[in-house]
Point group: C2
Chain length 160, copies 2
Amino acid sequence: MTTTTETRIEADPAVPVIRVVREFDAPPERVFRAFADPDVLVQWLGPETTSVRVDRWDAVNGGGYRFTMLRGAEELVTFWGAFHEVRSPDRMVRTQSMEGMGDGAVLNTLTFEALPDGRTRLTDATLIESFEGRDMILASGMDEGVIAGYKKLDELLADG
Amino acid sequence: MTTTTETRIEADPAVPVIRVVREFDAPPERVFRAFADPDVLVQWLGPETTSVRVDRWDAVNGGGYRFTMLRGAEELVTFWGAFHEVRSPDRMVRTQSMEGMGDGAVLNTLTFEALPDGRTRLTDATLIESFEGRDMILASGMDEGVIAGYKKLDELLADG
């Protein structure tokens, strides 16, 4: 069995979309839960040096959320948005904004695809209002946080 | 005073966005309410020959909605989604899907801009996941429903 845990981050040439593709050694139900259950989410989301405080979490169709990334007691950034669709085990669609960063909002679609041997391919597609906005997100160092977070999630899934 | 009630529907050349621009002879607070208050919304939304049944309506940040267009007792189409941001009088951001039409979701941003003489310019920008998806929406006859609905909204606003 070949285990791929490379994180692919692609900028779509045609539309202002960032697509992150990552495989996990766990079935879709468990990977989905890692995104939907805030008690699991806080255990892996973001870079090594940060923690997550969930301020609101209502993971249902037409529910809202808000969470804050912390370094120690310092608040680094707050993300908030609405859940458009929460459909275990294969699909989650939500909006997202960064507090204090103006009026931009993105549409984020997570697809959890079952692979052989009980594995999952996650595709995380973020649709942004402009190519300029996408360039800003790509230049922000988001890739490091994404890659580090998914590595923590690997370990969490391995622990059961 | 020049009163423009032309509805402009534009396809952005760079990104898969449909932008509808329309002015109203009422201040932003009143036009905003026509989109946020379901009791007002049902009085104007859609073509002349249809009515609207609101199935869910929670117009707050991180709330959800669902409504059905009817012709007589016949259900024509159901739209549903989440409110990302509801910020009277100038901004509303929401997602939208059509029930039974697959997994597509769009991000819709309404901006209500105050003009001189107590008027409002509404910009309704819908961001779609692909240019193909946008072409399908533009070819669906959505323009007729939009133009007819805004004409009813003109009358409603004139009536106070």
